[in-house]
Amino acid sequence: MNIRARSRSGRRGERGQVIPIVAMLILIITGFAAISLDAGMDYAQSRSDNDISDAAALAGAYWVTDNQPGSAGTTLVGLYNAEYNAGSADGCNITGQQCSTPMVVSGTSTYKVAEVWTTNAFNSTSFPTPNIYVGSLGTCSTSAGGTFAVGTCPAASAILDVGAPVSDKTTDYFAAVVGGHPVGITPNAVAAVAGTGGGSTSTNPTMACEVCVFGNVQINGMGDELEAGGGSIDVGGCVWYDTTGATVLTTNGYGIDVDGTSQACGASVYMTGQSGSPDLLDASGSLGIDGGLTFNGSYSTVEGATTTISGTVGATWWQSNYNVITPSSYGTTSVTDFTDPMANTAVPTYAGATTNCTAVGIVSSSSTTSGCLTATGSPATSATLASGVYGNVTLDLPTTVNPGEFESLTVGNTNETITFNAGTYIFDGSGIDVNATGTTLTGTGLTFYMTCGSGTTPASCGTWTPSSTQPTGGTCSSTNSSGSEVQMNGSTTLNLGAPTGTNPVLFFFDRCNSNSNAFYVDSQGVTAGSGYPTGMLYAHSGGLQINASTSSIPSPLLVGSIDYNNQSIVLGSATGSVALTSGTSGPGTLVN
């Protein structure tokens, strides 16, 4: 055998060896692919289960917010169902699936539980054990496997955190072939009942507009600002920058709409900025102007994420005067009309005592207990006014006031605290006048209805008929420019809170009360304690006169007009109104 023959024979002997190698490789590769697919699907499932737990926990938090205060010892089945339904809607609790939320407790207990914390447990970095578990019947226990009873349930107002543990298992396809077992997936999201931005019983309403003005905004002071970060700014009149260096802006993606076509302003937005002190109209979201824009100065900026301006943009040479519109390719279509979101809301009513208390005039250290007035001390150091119908009352003492009807209530001495007990206060005369420095107005569950009348007889300032009229949402048969007003003529602290409920109002001015000084803040301004004031200021036809910087005006702010009468006034807050500053956009916030 020669060398060539041996070589051919050797090659024939090696033929086919690659086939088992490839077969093994395919098996190995297939195995890796199977492991990868299983792992990938398991990861996707765990992501989904985390989402389910998040949604369920938030649903529980929303329920708690919407059902406060509640009572201790009553069922929390609503909380349980809220979490259960949220889990079901996203893929848990469906018959035949192994995912369940709230979790099925392992062991002997057959209860499914939601978790509740009534302490500030999540201030710590560790994951604390819940102190209440809620079963499927809304009953509660202090341990997951304990004895569940209605009586151990806390009041909704006592619940600070809710958790929605989810129990699931991986669905392993290829691993099961080789004897693998499913792995448990147990996410456990916790939501804090801590936000303040919504909820049907929240004290802080969420509305599309944080600042709604049904007439004009007149900015008269250099450096004045109007800000909103918790909703849009909608102006149904004109915005006049009658000064330089003034700003109107929104943040957090909210827009600004100005529609002054019904006001015959000449231009809906009128800017007079100058070099070094330009005016700014800046919408974080969309900006819409109906009725034209006039630059009567230079270097001013009008900008929005998107911008539409219908009507004339002027005046002559505005571009060569370095005024800017952003984006430069702005649209020219009309902006969406808006109407008063409160146009159909019923006016406050008072069904309290009808006792005639008109004998009470000045409450001072010389006052003695008589009729509707209870004086404490001799000479008196404090006083209490019973529910009743009053005339003009002056408070020269720290006083506790009960709901009633008043022509006027004047604070006459410095550094007094006036406490209002919960209820509706109707004013039909000149209204509230804080005429002393250092005054604190305090109380919760309050509505101040500022209307018109004669003597002690409150009456509507005109007949209101809601309609689809833009932007007012209705019309008055007549208006009364002398309706009750709120005068803040001192450095006043507004620790006032509206009742809980849908869109609560703290100051409700009769819609036909066209007092241009309806809410007046002097140069000493108003401040508020943490979390105050709550509820909105609603003065459909009335004016807000502002002389000092403040974010402590009740919010949302729905007024007929705004006038700035001083320099460097900042009204509102770029991070939301004062009520929303420390809160979130919803009552539930995921904390874990």
């Binding site: 490839v22 809220a82 339904n85 809607a89 469906i94």
Partner: protein
């Protein structure tokens, strides 16, 4: 050489399939993120369905549909994002949303839309199989359409706690996806549908 020639197509198919499946899974995860965040936004801002032309892919960022579009466009930027049109999905040929479901049946995408659609539906209860009570219709003046009158509203004062379900559907683009090309060649159009539900904050 012959063995390599036999094995190579198989290995190539494995590799290409892995890329295709991974891409499809990535898109699915992207859409899951989109509908989750969209539903959360729609739950706390139920009245912020804004003015935006039907079919637009660039709605304002402070609107529900704009948030969903922006999220979709950003989740997979390396691949150019997922483009979503402001177009209602069709359910049995109609825009009326299906009953609340964890895995709604695949809708159809209107033929005049780009390869995507979205449904933003509201329900008077969070219980499964609850019929939709209202949904948004995109148009120059957005319409909140009640399909069961009086049961829910998208204003800021919702009287009945409701659920919102955001559903998006995307027809997988054939571009750059060999598996999709293959499926398209077989006249099988892959349609990715994801949904997520949240209780609405009144």
């Amino acid at each position: 050489m012959v063995e390599f020639a036999l094995c190579f197509p198989i290995l190539l198919l494995f590799s290409v399939s892995a890329v295709g499946v991974a891409h499809a899974e990535e898109t699915a995860n992207d859409l899951a993120t989109v509908v989750r965040d969209g539903a959360r936004y729609a739950s706390v801002n139920p009245a912020l369905y804004g003015v935006c032309a039907a079919g637009s892919t660039t709605c304002a960022p402070n609107t529900i549909q704009g948030v969903i579009q922006a999220e979709a466009n950003s989740v997979n930027q390396s691949a150019g994002g997922v483009t979503l049109a402001n177009t209602n999905c069709l359910w049995g040929g109609l825009p009326t949303p299906p009953a609340l479901s964890a895995s709604p049946a695949s809708p159809s995408i209107p033929t005049n839309a780009s390869a995507s659609c979205m449904t933003i539906a509201y329900y008077a209860s969070g219980a499964l199989n609850t019929a939709a009570c209202a949904y948004y219709q995109p148009s120059a003046n957005p319409v909140f359409t009640n399909v069961n009158s009086g049961t829910c509203t998208a204003t800021s004062s919702v009287s009945t706690p409701v659920f919102v379900e955001v559903i998006v559907a995307v027809a997988q683009s054939a571009t750059g996806n060999p598996v999709v090309v293959l499926l398209n060649g077989l006249h099988i159009t892959p349609l990715m549908t994801r949904s997520y539900s949240m209780e609405v904050v009144p």
